[in-house]
């Protein structure tokens, strides 16, 4: 397994080496030692490889990820997996604000908590948070699924479009145009798939969750809704 020690190498050297990986490197596994909270680690990858980060990462870790699996054995700063297109990002600790922001695809799993604005403007990514999420999460979320095993903070799903949110714990408040919706069979099935993908066993049942989504009242400007924007 290639190992890059960030106490010895620069972040540019690390990202440069990771960017050079191609389809034929499939299955190659990299380990990053001494990340020390540095920003932009393992950003912009586009190959089916695995990168393990041995500690806490800073801002925008695994941003713009395609195909790759990035595992962070600690916490991440602002914007982990922001704008991810595909692949898998696994945070073993907590994530700071704007986890999975604007991401189009792939799966982001956070073992701990995510703070404010988790999944802001998400555009197709799946996010599973095993702890709780902070206020203003899924703000203007357009597509994808957000699953939360713990609680959600204020203004969940404010101005949400077509993303679907599943929360097992308490929701402090819903944002404008976000409402609770029925759990139909199709939702139970997709939730089970997401839980399985995140390695969550049958001890967490889909019926423990509530589903939230858009009431679709704010799609087009209507003067009667002016106060809700």
């Amino acid at each position: 397994m290639p190992t890059v020690d960030l106490a010895q190498s620069t972040r540019r050297e690390l990202n440069g080496a990771l960017h050079a990986l191609q389809k034929q490197d499939e299955g190659s596994s990299w380990r990053v030692e001494n990340p020390a909270g540095q920003h932009a680690l393992a950003c912009g990858l586009d190959a089916p490889v695995t990168v393990e980060i041995a500690g806490h990462a800073g801002y925008y870790c695994a941003g713009m990820n395609q195909q790759a699996t990035v595992i962070v054995e600690g916490n991440t700063g602002v914007g982990v997996a922001e704008n991810m297109m595909s692949g898998f990002v696994h945070v073993k600790g907590d994530a700071s604000q704007s986890a999975g922001a604007t991401a189009h695809g792939g799966l982001l799993v956070i073992e701990g908590n995510a703070s404010a604005r988790c999944g802001i403007s998400m555009k197709g990514v799946d996010i599973v948070v095993k702890g709780s999420i902070g206020p203003m999460s899924a703000f203007m979320a357009q597509a994808g699924r957000l699953v939360v095993l713990g609680d959600a903070g204020d203004a969940l799903g404010d101005s949400i479009y077509e993303a679907r949110i599943y929360v097992r714990g308490a929701v402090k408040s819903l944002g404008a145009d976000c409402v609770e919706k029925d759990m139909r069979e199709e939702h139970r099935a997709e939730l089970r798939e997401l839980l399985d993908a995140a390695g969550i066993g049958a001890d967490v049942g889909v019926d423990e969750f509530r589903r939230y989504g858009s009431a679709r009242q704010l799609y087009n400007f209507h003067v009667d809704n002016a106060a809700a924007y």
Binding site: A36, G37, Q38, H39, G55, H56, G58, Y59, N75, G77, V78, G93, D94, S96, Q97, S115, A116, G134, P135, M136
Partner: protein, 291 residues
């Protein structure tokens, strides 16, 4: 932008290292604030004496003029005057009358407060932060947004005895707060919005509030973006605005509580690998008091 840091020691055996640890934290935050830097350190108190930190030119002459009762420690552009309590008013009067060019940056039993324009590493080295001991300290690296790059605009701000504040963010209602505070006798010396926040907390604490209560009240009265780290003679506290606009990360162990704008600032602390690292919640006051 700005970077802020704070370190509050629980384990007294770390006190000789306070300055070294704080300097390391501050220097990592250069990327967030290369314009200027400043810090406050709570060191030993001398019974019956107060410390006045003054900043300006020609500080050598101050010691001679004030006589033997005033002990002076010079550090680059600052000097710490150790003054018998009974003579504090006299010394302040003399400074105002004879040396209006000098600025008193901090005053109290234990606080020393230094700030200068320049890269954080230059500032910490000019003042010898690494050699300073203490129980807690806060620091700031500034990228100016609301006022000019001057030493006066650098943080921390101290508006009350042994009190100081560093701020990342910007306040929208600082003019109206200033108009409210000045008639209450709260001294606000600069045009800086962050000094108004410090003055607000001083005002609340003068009215009998604890540091935590003063910060709680500020959530109703301050409008804007802020992450504050605040020090008092025996306390240390952190508060973020209700939408947590500015970054913050904390680490706690049996030996210390540490704050950084980014986790990077904390990586040099002893035992950080096993610390409880967490992000303070928006609009929640986190406060610690020394035993």
């Amino acid at each position: 932008m700005c970077g802020i840091v704070g370190l509050f020691l629980k384990d007294s055996s770390l006190e000789p290292e306070l300055g070294t640890l704080l300097a390391g934290m501050l220097e990592v935050m250069t990327d967030r604030g290369p314009d200027s830097a400043g810090f406050a350190v709570y060191g030993d108190a001398e019974p019956g004496r107060v410390k006045l930190t003054v900043r300006g030119k020609d500080l050598d002459a101050v010691g001679d003029a004030l006589g033997h009762d005033v002990k002076v420690t010079w550090r680059d552009t600052h000097a710490v005057l150790s003054v018998p309590e009974a003579q504090e008013d006299m010394v302040r009067g003399w400074l105002a009358r004879e040396r209006p060019d000098l600025v008193v940056t901090g005053a109290g039993q234990r606080i020393e407060l230094y700030k200068e324009v320049g890269l954080p590493a230059e500032v910490t080295s000019r003042f010898g932060l690494r050699g300073m001991a203490g129980t807690h300290g806060i620091g700031h690296t500034r990228m100016a947004t609301e006022s000019a790059v001057t030493t006066n605009g650098a943080h921390p701000f101290s508006t009350g005895k042994d009190q100081c504040l560093v701020h990342n963010g910007s306040l929208s209602n600082h003019h109206s707060l200033r108009r409210m505070l000045e008639p209450q006798g709260i001294p606000i010396a600069t045009e800086n919005d962050s000094e108004v926040a410090a003055g607000y907390l001083t005002w609340k604490m003068q009215g009998g509030a604890t540091l935590a209560q003063a910060l709680e009240a500020s959530l109703d009265d301050l409008d804007g973006f802020f992450t504050f780290v605040v020090g008092t003679e025996d306390g240390f506290a952190v508060l973020r605005d209700p939408i947590s606009c500015k970054p913050a990360v904390m680490a706690e162990t049996d030996r210390y509580v540490a704050f950084g704008s980014e986790y990077r600032a904390l990586v040099g602390l002893p035992g950080i690998e096993d610390a409880k690292v967490f992000e303070p919640e928006p609009a929640v006051v986190y406060a610690w008091v020394r035993d």
